[in-house]
Amino acid sequence: MALPSYTETRYRIWHYIYIAICTFVFFFLIAPLFVIFPLSFNAEEFLVFSEGMKNLDPDAFSLRWYKDMVYGTKNPWGLAAKNSFIIAIFATIGSIILGTLAALGLSSRHMPYKGLIMATLISPMIVPLIISGVAIFFFMAKAGLAATHTGIVLAHIILGTPFVVITVTATLSGFDHSVTRAAASLGSNPVNTFMKITLPLILPGVISGGLFAFVTSFDEVVVVLFLAGLENTTIPIQMWTGLREQLSPTILAVATCLILLSTLILVSAELLRRRSERLRGINR
């Protein structure tokens, strides 16, 4: 952002202030994440930078907390990771199926009561999580699903579908319906048309909605706190307990792994978004 040469001094100053503010905000956003990396390699038990670390002494760094995360005694992280992945994967599949179907219906111009139904479908996103937690807990307790994987998966489908509905509806808004009519006129049945024509075109939207659903489930702690028993502990629950009791460097090792995972998800979401824009661009 080079300034034109005729800029007055006061606007020049203002411009630099603006750049400084922006730099500060970006730093504020991203810097906290980077504190975690070095401290997770701390050889000591304290969560501060030791003198050795400040001097870049190799002895001050170690992988002991990563070892503790994987091999530690009474290690809760293995079970938690397994549960988290199982729950998140099933919740994502459920959200994608239910959400995509609903989005297809909502995008039809024949859909009656569109506004009301849309509001109902995305309500779990608007209602504060604590309230969703209480309501879902009441249901699961009555249905005998509290403290089961099934219960948590269902709860996460509730929380995840709104994202799929929104992303797929957005993808479908740029969708050229004449291609499906063309397929139908060429003798394709609706299921075939959906699988061969519609789905490949809306797939980026479906997957990015699925990513949202996955992250929602993988990161969700409020509802799980109400629902989970000892057997259903997840990574967020373990982190929550760890952070409440004492901040141990093992948590930072886990956190580092989670940041790497979120970087991976960010990259795939970004690639998908671009692909979706390209695909829809061709259709226009």
């Binding site: 009656p112 937690g133 209480v134 249901f139 929550w240």
Partner: protein, 421 residues
């Protein structure tokens, strides 16, 4: 000319209008069937349970079911300032005897004790008398019960029983606002030093408001920068917004706990630049400061993303036009650019405010006692005191607030402006 000849017929002889209507109806049903599975799922697992929360929050049938005869007899109790007639005593005695046989009398005592302090003692006394068969059912029960304890002769205790008669009550909602039903049935305020809930509501609103404000003040400039920079740079900077957005909430909270601790980096920095003395490091966590800082950083992406998506659509030539027509950059910004970003501001502020008002995890971890919000109180009653009906009532009060804000927003800006990513 008959009307039939005017109608256009399809190939199978049905009037086109009818045929079209039929097709339309078929399409409607098709579309609805696609939505039906999710709708049904949500209604059963989510919408009904929220209704269930409402039922729980107003349900007060326990006493109603325990003392059916008493409440029937109380209908004839006319002068409420005097002790009830003999028949009420008799009905109460019969109800209570039945409860005692079924081991339910303890529950009643506790419930009545909530209504009027000291009830548990006198019902226990009555229970012992019944157990020892010391009560003569052929004589006046009014006299015998009144003799047991002076509180039975106090009309306020009988009024308390009468107050529990209706099967539904708004008492939990009043409790959520630090009010209660006084002895005469009017609504009264809790003593000033015990008004904890009102403080919590106000604090929740205050924190949500200021977090929204901070997010706006910090989010607007960077959204503007992201929208005006060339793609090459803005994509790179966008990572700074998106990476926190995709990172686990607990990870981000953990990093703030490390940064803000007394020996943490922020305090180190303050000591280094000489802002505070090394032996006098301020407490920045477990209070409001920690809640503000952590929540602002965590919710900032929700402000930036909607702002960015709106600013991206504003053509830069508009600002140039404003300037070329004689406006200073400030005037051009204020009169041209800013009004165009209002939908984005609305969407961002709504998202952040609604998320902040129901925040639970971060305040619970970094908030300490002075930084906890209404959500923490709800969780406390769900998990610790097990007063689920009160938790439901508070939850619904919060939900009503959120829906009102959402409704106002929808009227002003329209909900369709919310975009993801």
């Amino acid at each position: 000319m008959s009307s039939e000849t005017k109608q256009i017929l399809t190939t199978d002889g049905i009037p086109l209008e009818v045929s079209l209507k039929k097709a339309e109806k078929k399409n409607k049903i098709k579309a609805f069937l696609l939505v039906a599975p999710l709708l049904l799922f949500l209604v059963i697992t989510y919408i009904f349970p929220i209704g269930d929360m409402f039922m729980r929050s107003v349900d007060d049938r326990m006493v109603t079911n325990m003392l059916p005869k008493t409440f029937k007899a109380m209908e004839n109790w006319e002068n409420l300032d005097e002790l009830p007639p003999e028949e009420v005593y008799r009905a109460f005695y019969e109800d209570y005897k039945l409860l005692a046989e079924n081991q339910q009398h303890g529950k009643l005592g506790q419930r009545l004790n909530k209504e009027k302090n000291g009830f548990n003692t006198i019902t226990k006394k009555l229970f012992r008398q019944i157990k020892r068969k010391k009560i003569d059912e052929s004589a006046s029960l009014k006299e015998q019960i009144n003799k047991l304890h002076k509180r039975w002769r106090n009309v306020e205790f009988w009024q308390a029983i009468k107050r529990t008669a209706p099967p539904y009550t708004a008492a939990k909602y009043l409790k959520g606002m630090d009010m209660y039903f006084a002895a005469d049935g009017s609504i009264a305020q809790v003593d000033e030093d015990r008004r904890i809930h009102r403080i919590l509501w106000l604090r929740t609103l205050e924190i949500a408001f200021f977090v929204t404000l901070f997010c706006f003040l910090m989010g607007y400039p960077i959204a503007h920068l992201l929208a005006t920079l060339p793609m090459k740079y803005s994509n790179l900077l966008m990572i700074c917004v998106l990476l926190p957005f995709w990172t686990s909430l607990l990870v981000r909270t953990a990093s703030w706990m490390i940064l803000l601790q007394q020996q943490g980096i922020v305090n180190d920095f303050f000591v280094m630049i000489g802002l505070v003395a090394d032996d006098n490091r301020p407490e920045m966590m477990y209070n409001k400061v920690g809640t503000y800082v952590a929540m602002t950083q965590i919710l900032l992406p929700f402000m930036v993303l909607p702002l960015y998506s709106v600013m991206k659509t504003i053509s830069p030539s508009l600002m140039r036009a404003g300037k070329s027509l004689g406006g200073t950059p400030f005037v051009a910004f204020w009169k041209v650019y800013f009004p165009l970003t209002i939908p984005g501001i609305g969407a961002g502020c709504l998202l952040v405010f609604i998320l902040a008002i129901g925040y639970y995890i971060t305040p619970a971890l970094v908030g300490g006692a002075s930084g906890t919000l209404i959500s923490n109180q709800i969780a406390f009653h769900m998990k610790t005191t097990l007063d689920w009906s009160f938790a439901s009532a508070m939850g619904l009060m919060l939900l009503t607030g959120v829906l009102v804000i959402y409704w106002i927003y929808n009227k002003l800006v329209g909900v369709d402006n919310i975009k993801l990513g």
